[in-house]
């Protein structure tokens, strides 16, 4: 693919021995809003975490703009699930968004004027300027989600990975995120979003990855959202796959013979 933002090559990630992602292969186009869909427990978050290098794959690799992740870290921003942190942490909106400016290289440096300006701009973009001094526990769920997105914006990255940003948010937040996505697309950014609501999928995304442990389909929404693909992913036709995965786990069986077809 020309202009490929993320390449996932023959990726397998296991959790406690059982494969959660199994032989996944795809290339994602740059400059598009891309949705990752699939039923609960289909490995969506695992995929995002493996791309981000938070989980070690048991085989395969990920490349970002044809480079190793470590070289590209500063060009990717990550928005974890809102529930993954304790919002009672003693920090304000500004403090959290400032974390988006932290780098290995500036770990020991004080935040400078550029950092402050970028933070203010990112908070403004998600409409939280009136709340910037507020402790993060005193925000609504939607506002907390916007804090996470502002933190990612402050990273000034080219690729954004978001884990379920639309879950449990109010209409105002949903609209704010959607118009941000439009803006990011216009700037040529690539956005990868885990999404669970099939109703809105074709409105939100240019490109889709349909997942259920294995890759079921990829392509434009028209190509992916066929009856056959959806029933493959959601219809319980893959019980055999789950059974094999369980066998592997219970017998501590290797998921592939060593060094095969890499």
């Amino acid at each position: 693919m020309n202009n490929c933002a993320i390449e996932v090559h023959n990726l397998t990630t296991t959790y406690g021995g059982a494969p959660v992602l199994w032989d996944i292969d795809f290339e994602l186009p740059a400059g598009q809003i891309i949705g990752i869909i699939g039923p609960n427990g289909s490995g969506k978050t695992t995929l995002l975490k493996t791309i981000m290098g938070l989980l070690e794959p048991s085989s395969g690799y990920v490349k970002i703009f044809d480079q190793d992740l470590e070289k590209m870290r500063e060009r990717i921003a990550y928005v974890p699930q809102r529930e993954s942190v304790d919002w009672d942490f003693p920090a304000t909106v500004e403090d959290v968004v400032m974390m988006g400016r932290y780098r290995k290289a500036n770990l020991f440096r004080r935040s400078n004027r550029t950092d402050l300006a970028v933070v203010a701009e990112s908070i403004e973009k998600v409409g939280l300027t009136p709340f910037k001094k507020r402790q993060i526990a005193q925000l609504s769920g939607g506002q907390q989600q916007r804090v996470f997105i502002a933190r990612a914006l402050a990273q000034k990255a080219d690729v954004y990975l978001m884990d379920e940003p639309f879950v449990g948010v109010d209409a105002a937040t949903e609209n704010a995120i959607l118009s941000l996505l439009e803006e990011m697309k216009a700037q040529g950014k690539t956005v990868l979003i885990i999404h669970h609501d099939l109703q809105t999928v074709s409105d939100y995304f240019d490109y889709l990855v349909l997942l259920n442990t294995r890759l079921i389909a990829k392509g434009t929404p028209q190509e992916v959202l066929t009856k056959e693909n959806l029933s493959n992913a959601y219809g319980g036709q893959l019980t055999l796959l789950a059974k094999v995965a369980n066998l592997i786990k219970e017998n501590e069986f290797p998921i592939r013979e060593k060094d095969m077809d890499l």
Binding site: K49, I76, Y78, F89, A91, T92, Y102, R103
Partner: protein
């Protein structure tokens, strides 16, 4: 009293060592404990503290002497191994962290007691004082220990300042810290090492059994008072150092009593007081808030009843009638003593004036009563317009809400209902 004066005037140079020692020990553990607390790893401190005992014994057996450096190195090693073991058990099995801590803590402590007994029976000379490590004896702090504690305190302080960004990011969201390429492994290693160091510096004075309180409790108490991390660190240090002083003093004046229990008692008292009195999160503040709300509702209900009385006789525009308490009770049922209390308060606040046994609204009282009725009716209108609600329930639904609607919400309600321009008296 004389003991206290002796104590604070450092008449005995040992007292100065003790006070400085408590400052360094409690300051270090409160600072690094705040991060352990925020990382939800506060209990690990308990495992570490108990695991130091076998290390101290091994250090003693190795050097054959109570050389503080050997004891310290032994303690540091076993302390570190214990946290590593807890993490290893959690990662490699289905055992959860609480159970893993329980297992590791008791194994190491048991080993420590076994070694301690062995030392006492094996004819080591000069083993006396090792059992002080169980409950701690601040008076045992001497000049050589003081140097070590000071170095540890300064190391922890400097590293927290230097790694402040890294420590906070890892404590808040370790996955994100990893995602932006921060050296999370190094940062976690530092946090653990500093925790072990601070606990190791405290066991001589506080004892292995109670040292973990110095990691958890100051942070827990400080959290009640602030939402800002730098302030939280400062308050935690303040509480802990203060408890250290008092504990050392009591231990000093009641010569021979262990220091650890006293420090922990005082620290816990501070935490309890924080729980009750803290301005935002304490139960007292919440109780007062609830009480204020109740009073506000009572006063507003009285004013509303007076308004409704006027409405019944068709004089709601002027609101100038003089009512008896019975008149008010004819509109709305109040508990008589509560009504009397409420009326007295309203008189004091100039909402109502009393002439003989009759009550009359003042100008601001009249205004206030109109405002409450207005809010009640606006909310009723809003519910009817925007939701499906049984008309019988509209009134009761508005009854409580009218007391909480702010002027901003009132303006928004008017805008939504499109009744901006209508004179207030018409609805």
């Amino acid at each position: 009293m004389q003991t206290f004066i002796d104590f604070i005037s450092f008449k005995d140079p040992n007292v100065l060592y003790v006070v400085l020692g408590m400052f360094f020990i409690n300051g270090s553990s409160a600072m690094i404990g705040t991060f352990a607390f925020l990382r939800k790893r506060a209990l690990i401190g308990d495992a570490i503290a108990h695991a130091l005992l076998p290390g101290i014994c091994l250090g003693f057996m190795f050097s054959g002497d109570k050389n503080i450096l050997y004891l310290f190195l032994g303690a540091f090693a076993t302390g570190w191994i214990s946290t590593y073991l807890v993490d290893y058990i959690v990662n490699q099995s289905k055992i959860k962290q609480d159970a893993a801590i329980g297992i590791v803590l008791s194994v190491f402590f048991a080993l420590g007691i076994v070694l301690l007994t062995y030392i006492q029976n094996a004819g080591y000379s000069n083993h006396g004082g090792l059992n002080l490590f169980l409950f701690g004896q601040a008076a045992a702090i001497g000049k050589s220990e003081l140097w070590i504690f000071a170095v540890i305190f300064i190391t922890i302080l400097l590293l927290i300042i230097l790694f402040y960004k890294g420590f906070t990011t890892v404590a808040f969201n370790a996955d994100f810290a990893k995602a932006i390429g921060l050296p999370v492994k190094t940062i976690e290693f530092l946090l653990t090492s500093l925790t072990v160091l601070s606990i190791a510096s405290g066991i001589q004075a506080l004892g292995v059994v109670l040292m973990s309180a110095l990691i958890v409790t100051p942070a827990a108490a400080a959290r009640f008072w602030t939402n800002k991390l730098p302030k939280m660190l400062g308050i935690a240090v303040l509480f802990s150092v203060f408890s250290g002083f008092i504990g050392a003093f009591v231990s000093y004046s009641e010569s021979g009593t262990p220091t650890g229990p006293w420090v922990v008692m005082i620290l816990s008292l501070i935490t309890l007081l924080s729980f009750i009195f803290s301005t935002k999160r304490g139960i007292l503040a919440r109780y007062l808030q609830a009480r204020n709300n109740k009073l506000k509702i009572r006063h507003e209900n009285i004013l509303k009843a007076i308004y409704q009385y006027h409405e019944r006789i068709g004089r709601q525009v002027r609101l100038d009638q003089k009512l008896s308490a019975t008149d008010i009770l004819g509109i709305r049922i109040f508990d008589t003593s509560e009504l009397q209390k409420g009326l007295r308060r309203l008189i004091r606040n100039d909402y109502i004036r009393k002439t003989e046994d009759r009550y009359q609204l003042t100008e601001i009282g009249a205004k206030e009563s109109k405002r409450i009725v207005r809010l009640h009716r606006l909310w009723e209108q809003y519910l009817l317009k925007r939701t499906t609600i049984d008309t019988y329930h509209v009134h009761s639904g508005a009854e409580a809400i009218e007391h909480i609607l702010s002027p901003e919400i009132e303006a928004e309600l008017k805008r939504e209902l499109g009744i901006e321009g209508i004179p207030e008296e018409d609805f």
